[in-house]
């Protein structure tokens, strides 16, 4: 299984929370979050980051089915 990682840079307010929680998955570029890789092996840290984003700018989906994994609606 592969997860697809997206950050909506228009929504991101650059708190750096995701990069602190999961530095191997997110970094700040021009003071906004960017996924380091568009996809990754399933990792609970990705769910943590998406669930903790204050503006819910991060979405994690199953790369094949497109099913939403986080954040919870």
């Amino acid at each position: 299984m592969t997860w697809q990682i997206e950050v909506d840079r228009n929504t991101c307010i650059g708190t750096g929370s995701c990069a602190g929680i999961a530095p191997e998955h997110f970094e700040l570029r021009d003071r906004k979050s960017c996924p380091r890789h568009p996809t990754a092996e399933p990792d609970e840290l990705l769910v943590d980051a998406a669930e903790s984003c204050p503006v819910e700018a991060i979405t994690i989906r199953d790369a094949t089915s497109g099913e939403l994994i986080a954040p919870e609606p």
Partner: protein, 404 residues
């Protein structure tokens, strides 16, 4: 960087809302400055915006390490032991995730109508009783206290008690160490009581949800649960309660900016961000971090094991990031301020605080036209011996409304 004799910090006593001019010189000439706080070991003071963000956001800087060290601080005692601010990821993430959802922008928006209602009632109460009023006691304090009480599920009727306890918790020199310990114990016991009530019967509030997370997911210890709930109650009102009168005071001393807001209330959200940048709420410095590795900042190298204290007040006035940083400009659209911190510990309540501050300004502008100080500048009494700057009392008056 060679270790020179540390300078005593803070350099000057906080004076109203003025920013120590020394920071501008440090940003330029000594971006890593060796300082000694009244208590704890010496540290590097970091004053540049980009460096402050690195120290707060880079996992090579640790908060957890501070627990084992004699961390630099303004008061003899450390803060609440076992708080979320003492943890690094992944431990920190475990706690933070349990509460993060309740504080997302989307969830906080749902509290806006009720917050507007509370603010309107407070302002109307002031109008009905007539001027002068104390902006702190009559508006700025009860607004966030009511909101956090309703969100958490803490009875508003107990506010006189937890106000005193919380005041002591955040104090630097206003209370003795024994008084602070007693107040901390009282607050923890009080919270334990509210937690027990939720175990006896389910409650549909945030405290109930936290108890549920503890009892059904085992993701946090009993102590962590209690400390987290206490932190939310304390952090959830002192800060916002200080910022409301700080913002009003700042706008009153910048009449052209206030006029712009009066002419176009649509500017309020942007004004809240600019005021967060401009107002030096913290009395000098945030919680120290410890370098776990040698880290190169723009200002020099921090060695593994050294303590670093960031100065958000200075970062928010960094000329490398903001044009004319000492000017208040509600139309400014530059880099986001670090008034809510940065990185994993970025203020959990930031969206709530933003919403409350927007509602507070909107309500005051709309319901108390011509709001101004009731007396001379000296009639504003500023707090002392506490960690946050703000008026203790701020007598205000306004133009009589038609129906008053």
């Amino acid at each position: 960087m060679a270790a020179t004799e540390p300078r005593n910090y803070p350099f000057t006593e906080a004076d109203r809302l003025t920013v120590d001019p020394a920071f501008a010189g440090l940003r330029k000439d000594e971006p890593l400055c060796r300082v000694r706080f009244p208590y704890g070991e010496a540290a590097w003071l970091v004053t540049r915006y980009e460096d402050v963000r690195t120290v707060l956001g880079d996992p090579r800087f640790s908060r957890a390490e501070a627990v084992h060290r004699d961390e630099p601080r303004l008061r003899p005692h450390r803060g609440l032991e076992g708080s979320i601010l003492d943890l690094d990821p992944p431990d920190h993430t475990r706690l933070r995730r349990i509460v993060a959802k309740a504080f997302t922008a989307r969830h906080i928006e749902r509290l806006r109508p009720r917050t507007e209602q509370i603010a309107a009632e407070l302002a109307d109460g002031m109008a009905a009783r007539g001027a002068p009023a104390d902006l702190v006691a009559d508006f700025a304090l009860p607004l966030p206290v009511t909101v956090i009480c309703e969100l958490l599920g803490v009875p508003l009727a107990d506010r006189a008690d937890f106000r005193t306890w919380s005041d002591a918790l955040l104090s630097t020199t206003k209370y003795t160490p024994q008084e602070i310990q007693d107040c901390t114990d009282a607050l923890m016991a009080y919270m334990a009581g509210l937690i027990a009530e939720r175990r006896a019967a389910p409650h549909d509030d945030l405290l109930g949800a936290l108890v549920d997370a503890r009892d059904n997911g085992e993701r946090l210890s009993e102590r962590e649960l209690q400390v987290l709930a206490v932190s939310l109650l304390v952090a959830g009102h002192e800060t916002t309660a200080s910022q409301i009168p700080n913002f009003v005071y700042t706008l009153l001393t910048h009449p052209e900016q206030l006029a712009a807001l009066r002419a176009d209330p649509g500017l309020v959200p942007g004004a809240v961000e600019e005021l967060m940048r401009y107002v030096p709420l913290g009395n000098g410095a945030g919680m120290p971090r410890y370098a776990l590795d040698d880290v190169e900042l723009s200002g020099g190298i921090v060695r593994a094991g050294e303590a670093v204290v960031v100065c958000p007040v200075s970062a928010n006035r960094d000329e490398a990031v903001y044009t004319d940083p000492d000017r208040l400009d509600v139309l400014r659209q530059e880099a986001s301020h670090v008034g809510f911190g940065h990185g994993p510990h970025h203020c959990l309540g930031a969206q709530l605080a933003r919403m409350e501050l927007q509602v507070a300004l909107n309500t005051l502008l709309e319901r108390l036209p011509g709001l101004r100080l009731a007396g001379p500048e000296e009639s504003v009494v500023w707090k002392s011996g506490v960690a946050l700057r703000g008026p203790e009392r701020m007598p205000v008056t306004w133009d009589r409304t038609r129906d008053a």
